[in-house]
Amino acid sequence: MTTHAAGNRGLTQNRRAVARKTLLRILAYVSLLLACFIALLPLWSAFTVSFKTAEEYSSTNAMTLPQNWMNLENYAQVWRGNQPSQSLLRAFATSGLVVVIVVTVSVMMGSMLGYVLNRFRFPGNGLIRNLFLIATLIPGIAMQVSTYQIMTDLKMVNTLWGYMILMSGTDVISIYIFLQFFENLDVALDESAVLEGCTYFGAFFRILLPLTVPAIVTVAVLKGVGVYNEYYNANLYLNSGKYYTVSTALYSFSGPYKSQYNIICAGVLLTLLPPLIVFLVFQKQVYAGLASGSVKG
């Protein structure tokens, strides 16, 4: 800090500054470690308990480590499920399908609308932007009652496609991510293509879309994790017992397994894996998407 100081007095001052800096640094690390401990403790306890046998679970303290780390019986149990429809295997398949379709639809709609709004001046352009902007101010969660009625009218309740349409239709953030991305993409790219005889459709699909891969990854990761973790609508609109997403299947565990947390936590851990893997692979995109998605959303 006081590197320009000279002489003996400067040296002791310097030393004191260094000592203070070290102390601050230690305090910083201690608080960070404490925060990480709190962040990890619930996950860690769920992890350890998931390897315990029923007998071990009832006889040992919640925080003692399992005797056999290779006891995968609980995992096998939730994987198979109490009844076939509630097996996590099936739930993963259902959620996987929902995520793939909803993400694809969101990416297509977001990129197309972003392209139109960014590249073309037409009457209504501002209106459309405002309609989407105002929509972000209306909390979707408050409108669930009237949305439910509309879903019922359209016979979309208890159908997988209905749920998927609902999940892809209420997305404003991906549109903004694409809008922002197109703003930073040189107009000359598609303009020259159109001047050379390429159609606007061709310019979009062949030239612009391949360039938006970073935005596509961001939207896919954010939307994918969001849809995968979604519980409220899945519970409301897929409640006939025919379809279980990962969230609703997990929720249904509280019936058969009550407070057998050794089994439930095995399910919890399995459902954590996909977001964990996505996070480890796409960390940068997750952070970036969070920022760009929420600044306007």
């Binding site: 303290n61 408050a142 997990l250 969070l290």
Partner: protein, 319 residues
């Protein structure tokens, strides 16, 4: 662009214009349709329903403001609304923690990336999974109690975290802070990282200490994100749902937030009109808070922006 090419060009332009219209229509019709279907139609229906006494299947007629009067006069609704105060207090703590850790993580400590990743990960965890983990966490004699006992606190002196009505809402707020703190922090880290680093250098030369730097450079620099985080967490606390629904067993033991009341009103008691009126109140509250925050920050933050500019100007003069 010679004269000879003009008719040809005009024809092409016409063709291109037609194509443009076609493109604009095909690319925007589906998103707009869905926006109308799932946002604006339900929105206007919600307004209308809130003045009716009706269920999903039957409409028993117009009742004017009756539903609204009930919300503000019956104790159970008012107390559910007041529950969000817990979540707002939690949001304040959460934002301070997030800002604190974001400042630490951007000060060049080793291992920042790892710390950031660990603290952020809870945001990606499934809400139901969080519910189970924290039920296990808070159960008498289980995870939390064991940790506290190892610190020398006797089990007898500890409350039942989820049953005791004097603490259970705080326990639920804790799960919400656990989930969202990392997200707020990442947003802060992004904002702080985008501040021009020469400002710190200038401030250091100016003799500003870390706290002064935080006040004069970081705080104004993250104003937008700060407000965004604040709005997100206030709207989040008003519509808090998952902690109470899953950890608190559908709002048992006095943990039913306003949103859970709406859900029960609509899907358990089948009183759609009443539920819509409650949703309207929730929405108006959220809008009022959002607007109030914007105005407040426009007024208060302008002040610090001036000091920020003053500092920057002084720094420039120094160079």
């Amino acid at each position: 662009m010679t004269n000879a090419a003009a008719p040809d060009l005009r024809q092409r332009r016409k063709k291109i214009n037609g194509q443009k219209v076609l493109l604009i229509v095909t690319f925007s019709v589906i998103p707009l349709f869905l926006l109308a279907l799932f946002t604006y139609v339900p929105f206007f229906r919600m307004i209308r329903f809130s003045f009716y006494n009706m269920s999903y299947t039957k409409n028993k007629g117009f009742v004017g403001l009756d539903n609204y009067v009930k919300i503000f006069t019956r104790e159970e609704y008012v107390s559910a609304m007041l529950l969000s105060l817990y979540y707002m207090a939690g949001a304040a703590i959460q934002l301070s923690l997030a800002l604190f850790f974001a400042t630490l993580l951007t000060s060049g400590l080793k291992g920042s990336g790892l710390f950031k990743g660990i603290m952020f990960f809870p945001f990606l965890v499934n809400g139901i999974a969080i519910g189970y983990m924290f039920k296990f966490f808070f159960t008498r004699g289980f995870v939390l109690d064991t940790v506290l006992q190892s610190l020398g606190i006797s089990l007898e002196s500890l409350p039942y975290w989820l049953r005791d009505q004097s603490v259970n809402n705080w326990s639920l707020v804790f799960t919400s802070v656990w989930k969202y703190c990392g997200q707020n922090m990442v947003l802060f880290v992004g904002a702080i990282a985008s501040i021009d680093p020469t400002l710190y250098e200038a401030a250091t030369i100016d003799g500003a200490n870390k706290w002064q730097q935080f006040k004069a450079i970081i705080l104004p620099g993250i104003k937008t994100v700060f407000m965004l985080n604040l709005i997100l967490s206030i709207t989040g606390s008003l519509s808090a749902f998952e902690p109470a629904y899953v950890v608190g067993s559908m709002g048992a033991n006095g943990t039913a937030t306003f949103f859970i009341k709406i859900h029960q009103m609509a899907h358990v008691h089948n009183k759609v009109g009443m539920a819509c009126a409650m949703a309207m109140v929730l929405m108006i509250l959220i809008l009022v808070f959002t607007v109030a925050q914007r105005l407040f920050f426009r007024y208060v933050m302008k002040d610090s922006e001036n000091t920020f500019n003053g500092k920057a100007n002084r720094a420039k003069a120094l160079w």
